[in-house]
Amino acid sequence: LNCRGKPELRERLAAEYVLGTLRGRARARLQRWLRDDAELAREVARWEARLAPMAGAVAPVSPSARVWQQIENRLGSPKKTFSLWKALGLMASGAAAALVAVALLLPLLQPGSAAYIAVLSDPKTNQPVLVATADAKGTVLRVNTLNPAIHVADRSLELWALPRGGQPRSLGLVSREERGTLKLAAAADKSLSDVPALAISLEPRGGSPTGQPTGPVLYTGPCVKYW
């Protein structure tokens, strides 16, 4: 028994589920359907969007301080948790700019899949200027420029991978567009797995003529795997 093909019933059940009047076995049954009925889940989400704001009318009540303590206890020691935030060194940087970086970064992360992320900052101001991301199995490096003022007229900015114990490897020129892409030589799991950092150097127009950075290194930042 299910409710497919009965739009009126589906809408009513979704609405009553969200309102809370659907109880007992009917509620449990709807929850089972929700697991593999994406359209029903969307119907529920639409009703949540309509009704949840009613909660704004409920008087807030401060929970006891022990509630937060117990939540923290249940999360386990923070040291065990890998913090991308910290790994990227964003803790120390300006909060506002770091938020921009993360806001850009998050939609790029597909839940459940690994990705490489690098955040390059200006060492003078500690502000992130550019975020590069790649899916672990992908060969596309997405480059988001956070600060368009980094570009210099008649010169090019070149992005480099700095492999552990090896020569810098060019990843290509930073696009003057806010969002650009570069092609990696191999899947990120190969080409970035041994690259703890990326850097940007100022080069003649068109990029370094030698295959190695020739101008000053303006921006650097850690490159980490996240999953």
């Binding site: 704001p53 939540i71 938020l99 993360v102």
Partner: protein, 187 residues
């Protein structure tokens, strides 16, 4: 007034990246609202605390599943809390809702609609709730705020079950067409 989506989205984003400090800020910005919601439905402080804990642990673990395009942060969090509360009520023998308990529930209190009218995002909802027939509004408010089932609504409002179900159903449909006048009506 509920915390704004603009304030909460970056906190959820940072929580998704494992940032404890952001998670704490998220808690501080939202916990009293969500505790109020849970307490009103469960009517017992210890249970509301337990549900709140479970929900925040779940926010921490599932912040990455949050999709800003799909729901406002408070909608996402409120829905998780309300669902957890309603599931809790399904446990064998929760707080018995006897006549006395039902009397305690303020009968004609749809929550201060004035509070909703202040919010930019909730003003339309407040207007649509006001537009419902009084009985529809009362039934919907008691169900949403106090977690009453159809049977409890019938008992509390002293009306036949079928009548109460009709109020709820018609009230919900009217609310929907008021909120989305362009939405096509189902046959």
């Amino acid at each position: 007034v509920a915390p704004s989506a603009q304030a909460l989205e970056p906190l959820l984003a940072r929580t998704a990246l494992g940032d404890r400090a952001a998670f704490r800020e998220l808690y501080q910005a939202t916990a009293s609202k969500l505790f109020g919601v849970a307490l009103r439905i469960l009517r017992r402080e210890d249970w509301a605390e337990e549900v709140l804990q479970e929900c925040y642990v779940s926010f921490w673990r599932h912040a990455r599943d949050y999709n800003a395009g799909r729901a406002a942060p408070m909608t996402w969090m409120t829905s998780i809390v309300r669902n957890r509360c309603l599931d809790w009520l399904r446990r064998p023998n929760p707080e018995p809702l006897d006549d006395e308990a039902l009397q305690e529930i303020e009968s004609d209190n749809p929550g201060p609609l004035a509070e909703l009218e202040k919010g930019r995002d909730t003003a339309a909802l407040a207007r649509c709730l006001r537009g419902l027939e009084a009985k529809q509004r009362q039934a919907i408010a008691l169900a949403f705020f106090d977690g009453l089932s159809h049977a409890e609504l019938a008992q509390h409002l002293r009306e036949p079950l079928g009548t109460v179900k009709t109020w709820v159903r018609r009230g919900l449909l009217r609310l929907r067409s008021c909120l989305e006048p362009a939405a096509k009506e189902l046959p």
